[in-house]
Amino acid sequence: MCLAIPVKVIETRGGTDALLDPPVAIVDAEGIRQEVRLDLVDRMPEPGDWLIVHAGFAINCLDPEEARKNLELMNEMAGQVGKAADIS
């Protein structure tokens, strides 16, 4: 029930009424199109944005800037070790 991988937004629909016409996104989850609800996210995502989805609801939009920082930090660690390994 927990989808651990992010999904990509293809288009968004609805949202005229929070309860009677809730906002949804059509997403591409590993090649399969799915509809996910956007009730829980604080902004309407754009096509091309990435979402974290759980039990049919997007729980957050992925932050590309933070993803870059995540990776940079990891690479930094990896780089340091790489050098040390080269020396030995």
């Binding site: 996210v41 932050d63 920082k69």
Partner: protein
């Protein structure tokens, strides 16, 4: 795939593992709370990369596994009521209660359907106005807001043939219990990534401040998990336990207040039973007065019995991180995924299912233990 492949890069994962090898000077016991972490650790073979002095134990992070047997029997009892349609997450259908399971109820003629979301259960109710549709609502902080949204929608649309069995649980409460358990050896906690998306990192602050537990919030890709473990080991080695957010791309420090507000609109905290852990204060969720008519247990007048665990099953200990599946005499013998004895062998997030599926048999464990 974007945001996935980068964090699976084997060179990166190995490099972090190498740094971990250097950092881990002393034995460190780490609990991974989330069943999705457990699965990911096995799937990507991370146990092979983690130094021997680091021991990983699984915690009570599988919502299906911690649902008490009595509540499952109650669900099966509702399923047997003529005209009822049960809508449930798949794993929940096969979990044995004390006497029966939803699967058994289905074999006896009940209409039990698998859904992926509370919203799909509500759809079934709309399509079947002359039938009562009951959603088995399990899940932690991550799942509850969506279920709350579905209940609010049912309320707004006046859908009277929809109800839920509220089995929702909240995560930090059992962690406190585990840390207070006499003789607990746990020094670090790999915090559940997607619970944290909702709660933010603050929900775990009490662990370092009150119990000196090192915490890392991590994503689910191999590099994420390895980085989380590295962070915990460094915190322990430096004597500086805190909550480190290693999953910044998804977890904001303040979590998701919008999701929390939805959950709070519909549910209030209540004391609740956990399989293996017993009754924990304010660790469950009950429907608030305004939405109480959507409580299936009240609608059908069913009182869950405090059911016993299946005889011989060690799930209780496993959920507390006090035993591993190979210590259970039934593991791989009487208890296999095709005919599970306990819940941990059923759920895709269950510890016994993970050990079984990835063939972590007795040999591997003897290696780790000696």
């Amino acid at each position: 795939m974007k945001y996935v492949d980068e964090f699976r890069n084997p060179r990166l994962v190995r490099a972090i593992a190498c740094r971990l090898e250097n950092a881990a000077l002393n034995p460190v016991a780490i609990m991974e709370v989330c069943g999705t972490h457990t699965m990911s650790i096995f799937r990507h073979g991370l146990r092979e990369l983690i130094p021997r002095q680091i021991s990983l134990v699984s915690g009570p992070g599988c919502p299906v596994c911690v649902t008490p047997a009595g509540l499952i029997d109650a669900c099966a009892e509702i399923a047997a009521v003529p005209g009822v349609i049960i809508a449930s997450f798949g794993d929940m259908i096969r979990v044995p209660g004390a006497g029966t399971s939803l699967e058994n109820a289905r074999a006896a003629g009940a209409d039990v359907r698998m859904v992926l979301s509370a919203v799909s259960a509500l759809d079934i109710a709309r399509q079947n106005p002359d039938r009562q549709v009951v959603f088995i609502s399990v899940g932690f902080e991550t799942t509850t807001p969506g279920t709350a949204a579905a209940v609010m929608q049912a309320h707004a649309e006046n859908i009277s043939n929809f109800s839920i069995v509220p089995c929702n649980r909240t995560m930090p409460a059992p962690l406190r219990l585990l840390m207070e358990e006499p003789g607990s050896a746990i020094q670090g906690l790999l915090c559940p990534g997607h619970v944290s998306v909702i709660t933010g990192s603050s929900a775990f602050e009490f662990l370092p401040s009150e119990y000196g537990i090192a915490c890392a919030i991590a994503g689910f890709e191999p590099a994420d998990i390895m980085q989380g473990i590295l962070s915990i080991v460094e915190q322990v080695e430096n004597g500086n336990p805190h909550v480190e957010n290693c999953y910044g791309r998804a977890v904001n420090p303040g979590g998701n207040p919008r999701a929390r507000a939805l959950a709070e609109e519909v549910f209030r905290p209540c004391d609740a039973w956990w399989r293996g852990l017993g009754l924990i204060k304010e660790s469950g969720l009950a429907l608030r007065r305004r939405y109480r008519s959507f409580d299936a247990l009240q609608r059908f007048g069913i009182e869950p019995a405090p059911g016993n665990e299946p005889p011989g099953c060690l799930c209780g200990k496993i959920l507390r991180g006090a035993a591993t599946p190979v210590e259970c005499p039934l593991f791989e013998k009487k208890c296999v995924p095709s005919s599970p004895v306990g819940p941990c062998m059923v759920s895709a997030e269950g510890t016994c299912a993970a050990w079984y599926r990835y063939g972590i048999g007795h040999n591997r464990i003897h290696q780790t233990d000696d």
